[in-house]
């Protein structure tokens, strides 16, 4: 996750409290989604950004996960994400996200 985004997530969490923040990812690959999810839960694994060593433990989902999909209007989802859902390897993204959540999410 780039340094600017790490800073934004950190600032928003400080402002609103971790229990009120959900991070939604749109990464194209499971590995990249996992790294971003790890960053906002267990801290920046590359130790380069503002979240290095900061364990926010935020709830985090990918836009193609059923947890998110079931919460939004089906028509809007289809318009905005339907195409990418077809292109991405959804199963491996879900698996990766579940693995990160089960280890590090506090809320």
């Amino acid at each position: 996750m780039d340094l600017e985004n790490q800073k934004r997530v950190k600032d928003l969490t400080e402002q609103h409290g971790g229990e009120n923040v959900v991070v939604l990812l749109g990464a194209a690959e499971a590995e990249a989604a996992g790294l971003a999810a790890e960053t906002v839960t267990n801290g920046d694994p590359t130790f380069a950004g503002p979240l290095a060593g900061v364990q926010l433990g935020l709830r985090v989902f990918h836009a193609v996960e059923p947890d998110f999909k079931n919460e939004v209007d089906a028509g809007v989802f289809d318009d905005q994400i339907g195409m990418m859902e077809m292109v991405l390897d959804v199963d491996s993204i879900v698996e990766e996200m579940n693995s990160i959540r089960s280890q590090f999410v506090k809320y």
Partner: protein
């Protein structure tokens, strides 16, 4: 009004290993933040030789020796594959070695800012003297060279940017002003590199297409650099500076910017200028970006592979009035990412791909080849950025499925049929749609394709002026006299009207 055509193209690569180390931002940033970096120590071991760069299959594709589709015959990764008997010159351009390019930087410098050492100058003079496109007049601009002591002094005392060849100091680029940050040695160095590689591309465009450079009316330069002084950071104008160097005495020009999307913006502007009759011959040109050398070098070194971002890229394309033969630029089938489009991939692909198709009543499968961001996956995959063209083709195909123009089972094969593997160096603006134009001219000629779409995308948010993304696209079509018919009909109509008016007038007189 008749559509404009793509008349010719020229492409160049320049192998610049020393510049990876000294000028690529990944490396300069590392040196700044971690001077004792292990990465910087290991980096030179991962540089390729000039011969390796010349025989690298994607590079031979860029200069027109191999068809993009034929790259598939080489198993990935490509960096350990060779094109047997590869030559530095191809049908569309060349791969220039570093020492000749340093000489070319001196040649295109009109303010005596580049200093090259005497013996090095002598060596380069001989080499450039044998270059098929370097005239005596150009080579003479190398002059005799400078003493190494004067070069060292300029670097030590006046912040000149050092020029190295094979790790040896051979020259420098001086600052053009003592305190103006926009004319410091770093910026002059960067800009002279863009200018020199733009000039080389332009020279190849003229040569490969047997053009008379005096016929060029206008030049649009679309690289990613900015030239100006402290009162106007990007005042310009690379276009005219390049035109002057190549002897385009009847041309003026201007610079167009839009990050990686700029070449396609420029292509559409050029088509409009020609189609409107303002100019007959417009050249779109761009040189390379030295800052991007070795951009993914850390990943390449970590994966123990050669640093593949070791070349600067350049291209030049001529857009001319309809000759009845060359492929036409369908200015009525243009897609664009609008301010209100939104940033989801689906919105972007719809705006760039299907909106222009809908205007022409075309289906996704009516375009034979989509030229998207043709980034070489050999470079991007090891860096975790995936296969960019492949990802684009998947998105286009998925949109096709959503529009019921394609079966879901056809998505996987779509890239093979309507796409190409990426071959362009990750020089930002260089991969963006335009690398295919030269190959497309050939494919139209042989009847292999009837239509192609050229797509450019740009990350505007990097300049911190907007959060917007950008993209623009245009359809290229086989020349079947389309658009020209409309003009001849109206001409005929005018003639009939005049004749009728004269008959009426005559009948009035006779009354």
């Amino acid at each position: 009004m008749s559509y404009a055509v793509v008349k010719g193209a020229g492409y160049v690569l320049v192998h610049t290993p020393d510049m990876i180390f000294h000028n690529g931002t990944t490396q300069t940033t590392e040196r700044y933040s971690n001077p004792e970096s292990e990465y910087l120590k290991k980096l030179p071991e991962h540089f390729r030789s000039y011969e390796e760069v010349v025989s690298y299959p994607p590079n031979q594709t860029y200069i027109g020796t191999i068809k993009p589709e034929d790259l598939r015959k080489y198993d990935m990764p490509w960096y350990d594959k060779k094109v047997e008997g590869a030559d530095r010159y191809g049908k569309l351009g060349e791969i220039m070695p570093q020492e000749e390019f340093l000489g070319l930087m001196k040649i295109v410098d009109v303010f005596d800012l580049v200093k090259l050492e005497k013996d090095f100058t002598k060596e380069v003079k001989t080499k450039l003297g044998n270059h098929p496109l370097m005239t005596e007049e150009l080579v003479a601009k190398l002059k005799e060279g400078d003493e190494i002591a004067a070069i060292e002094k300029a670097i030590k005392e006046q912040h000149a940017e050092a020029l190295y060849h094979h790790n040896k100091l051979v020259g420098c680029v001086k600052r053009a002003h003592e305190i103006d940050p926009n004319l410091n040695a770093h910026i002059i160095h960067e800009n002279l590199i863009a200018k020199a590689s733009g000039v080389l591309s332009f020279l190849h465009l003229i040569d490969k297409n047997k053009l008379d450079v005096k016929d060029v009316d206008y030049v649009i330069e679309c690289s990613e650099e900015a030239c100006g002084d402290m009162n106007q950071r990007g005042g310009g104008n690379f276009a005219k500076a390049i035109a002057e160097m190549v002897g385009a005495v009847n041309a003026t020009g201007s610079d167009t910017r839009g990050f990686c999307a700029a070449p396609v913006h420029a292509l559409i502007q050029a088509s409009a200028l020609v189609q409107s009759g303002t100019f007959e011959n417009v050249v779109v040109v761009a040189g390379g970006a030295v800052a991007k050398l070795g951009m993914n070098g850390k990943d390449h070194v970590k994966k123990d592979m050669p640093v593949l971002e070791d070349v600067l890229g350049g291209f030049a394309v001529l857009i001319s009035k309809n000759d009845g033969v060359s492929p036409v630029l369908r200015t009525d089938l243009v897609g664009r990412h609008k301010v209100g489009t939104g940033s989801s991939p689906q919105a972007v692909i719809t705006a760039l791909i299907t909106e222009p198709l809908d205007k022409g009543g075309l289906k996704i499968t009516d375009i034979n080849k989509y030229s998207v961001e043709m980034q070489n996956p050999d470079v991007t995959k090891p860096a975790g950025a995936g296969d960019v063209p492949e990802a684009n083709y998947k998105m286009i195909a998925a949109l096709g499925v959503k529009r019921n123009e394609l079966e879901r089972t056809e998505v996987a094969a779509f890239a093979e049929k309507h796409g190409m593997p990426g071959w362009a160096p990750t020089q930002g603006h260089i991969p963006s749609g335009v690398p295919y134009l030269g190959h497309a001219l050939e494919a139209f000629k042989t009847g292999e394709i009837q239509r192609a779409m050229i797509v450019g995308k740009g990350s505007l948010f990097l300049a911190r002026m907007t959060n917007q993304f950008d993209g623009i696209s245009i359809v290229l079509e086989n020349n079947s006299g389309q658009g020209a018919k409309e003009a001849s009909v109206s001409e005929e109509e005018v003639r009939t009207m005049i004749a009728e008016a004269m008959r009426n007038f005559a009948s009035h007189l006779s009354k």
